[in-house]
Symmetry: C2
Subunit: 343 residues, 2 copies
């Protein structure tokens, strides 16, 4: 019998989450049955979509029930197995949640090759954020070589990948990020042509800065934030521009709604510029994972794609790290080290 320490949803947040919305508990897991295996979690990924799951609102996925373990992508090691596809010692990626241990039958779990790249990337550039960037750029944003793209949350787990993939397509790549340190990183490490610090701008001046940064206008906007960045980019979109709507983190906790640009101005841009605006969630595109890995895996392996992780130590620090991330306090892919590296 194995004890699992896990973090459950204690209450639904009213606006921004607080640590009171979470509760830590320890449960004893049952013995595994035929076809099952037991994992110990090494890495937990924290991602903005989790904020949506905390609300009891109709969305693309069911909310986390009160008292249930918080959802989350993880990288883990098989430590006991009655499933020959997942033998002891294998590293796997799966959605085991905010927990130290879990039992699985293998559904939705994939084996990770630890020789290709550090295993944490299985929840980063080579995991959900990576394929989100890849699908959003190509299939939703319909990005073409030589076009200009603006990437919001430019150094985030998804945005940082969008920028690098766009640069590999010879696009002009303009990032928007919070603070000079992130912008510096976007240009020096991720290869952005330019990065604008939204802390230094209101919507209007950010719009002017984008106009200057994109003398030929903006063809693709990778949208993760909403808020003033959306407003600033909209006015700079080219005719037949595309907006890939991947998130709206600026509005997730209900803030900024009153300050949002009036809808008619947005609609007018869509109409007069014949924009295509499309929302997407990556879960519907996972069948492309093999294609994504075949194309992007080698780029991570040989260093053409770089990444940065912001690591919180210990599962007990996951709630605060998550709250900080929602406020833009992280720098790079937010991960939680739940357990020791495999030997």
């Amino acid at each position: 019998m194995t004890d699992a320490t896990r973090i459950v949803l204690a209450s639904r947040p009213d606006g921004k989450p607080t640590t009171d919305n979470f509760r830590t508990e320890t449960v004893t897991l049952p013995a595994i049955e035929d076809g099952e295996f037991l994992v110990r979690v090494i890495w937990l990924s924290l991602d903005p979509y989790m904020r949506g799951r905390m609300d009891d609102a109709k969305s693309y996925a069911k909310p986390v029930a009160l008292g249930d373990v918080m959802e989350g992508g993880t990288v883990a090691e098989v430590i006991e197995s009655r499933n020959s596809d997942f033998p002891v010692g294998k590293i796997v990626a799966g959605s085991f949640g905010w927990t130290t241990h879990a039992i699985s039958n293998g559904d939705g779990v994939r084996i990770v090759d630890p020789d290709m790249a550090p295993i944490s990337t299985a929840q980063g550039v080579l995991g959900m954020p990576g394929i989100t960037a890849w699908v959003g750029l190509n299939d939703i944003g319909r990005a073409k070589d030589g076009e200009t793209i603006v990437v919001s949350a430019a150094t985030g787990a998804v945005g940082g990948m969008v920028g690098q993939l766009a640069k590999a397509k010879n696009m002009r790549v303009i990032g928007v990020a919070g603070g000079p340190e992130k912008c510096d990183y976007a240009i020096k490490e991720l290869g952005y042509d330019l990065c604008l610090d939204h802390h230094a701008h209101d919507a209007k001046s950010l719009g002017k800065a984008i106009a200057k940064a994109a003398p030929d206008g903006v063809d693709v906007y990778f949208e993760s934030v909403g808020g003033k960045t959306l407003e600033a980019v909209l006015g700079n979109m080219n005719i037949h521009g595309r907006i890939a709507v991947c998130g709206m983190i600026a509005w997730y906790s209900g803030q900024g709604v009153k300050d949002a640009q009036p809808l008619p101005a947005v609609w007018r841009n869509i109409l007069t510029k014949r924009l295509l605006v499309e929302g997407f969630i990556i879960f519907e595109h996972f069948h492309k994972f093999p294609d994504f890995m075949a194309q992007v895996g080698p780029m991570v392996g040989d260093g053409r794609i770089t990444y940065r992780e912001d690591i919180a130590e210990g599962l007990e620090n996951a709630p605060q790290a998550f709250i900080d991330m929602l406020g833009g306090g992280n720098f790079g892919k937010q991960m939680v080290r739940v357990g020791a590296d495999p030997k």
Copy 2:
């Protein structure tokens, strides 16, 4: 030498246009040169897009300059010609504007077959509004047989055609129109399954009425109005629904902007339902005119497609008819009889 009476833009409107924004003048046209021909206008079409041209704002087309003739699609008769492609007596469709006579070199002018359908349809169901409906439904709305569509301005020149073309595709077709008379017409004459009177609803109750009318949700929204209709439909859109943005007449003159739904709620719908929202203007799709005529021409000829015209008598009444149309006062395609029928 021929005198042309014409209506020019006297001043730019501040909000809703008034008759003071227009001025009537008479000019003497020069003699036609080689390659040119002279027409007398029989029908002038009034369309919502003209409101945009009255503003000095960046849009998809240049504004009408102060003192210039108001733009407009017309059906006319060639009465003098030095162009063998357009001999005297031919009926033609072209953008001659709000005028009784004009000289053309044939650019953008097409010959109309008066035996196929009444010639006014060349600016209606078989003209710009017709192809707008056809392209918007099929190419932008990506409508499929058996899906559910909501059509705003359901009895308008474009909407009435969208509804009928959608019905011909075996879709469930729900109209939204202003007043019981229009709704009655939509159901009895245009074949809508249902039509909701937006005068009888606020956004919330209209949303409930649409939910009831569309038990399987809404797959396609043909958007011409914005305002509360947009808000009401959005909440009923199905996952992977499409919104073809053809106009936003409710907001054209700046009214209703404060009452508009907050942008974050709209963005949330786009994201969580993976909607595709696309603006279009028909001028970019005119190369499909032959395909459109081949498919839809016979449907008008044999009565499968019906239409209704709201006729203002005399060019001098065009400004008031235009103002009334912007307020939803017309019932059917708004036309102005500028000259007598051909003999």
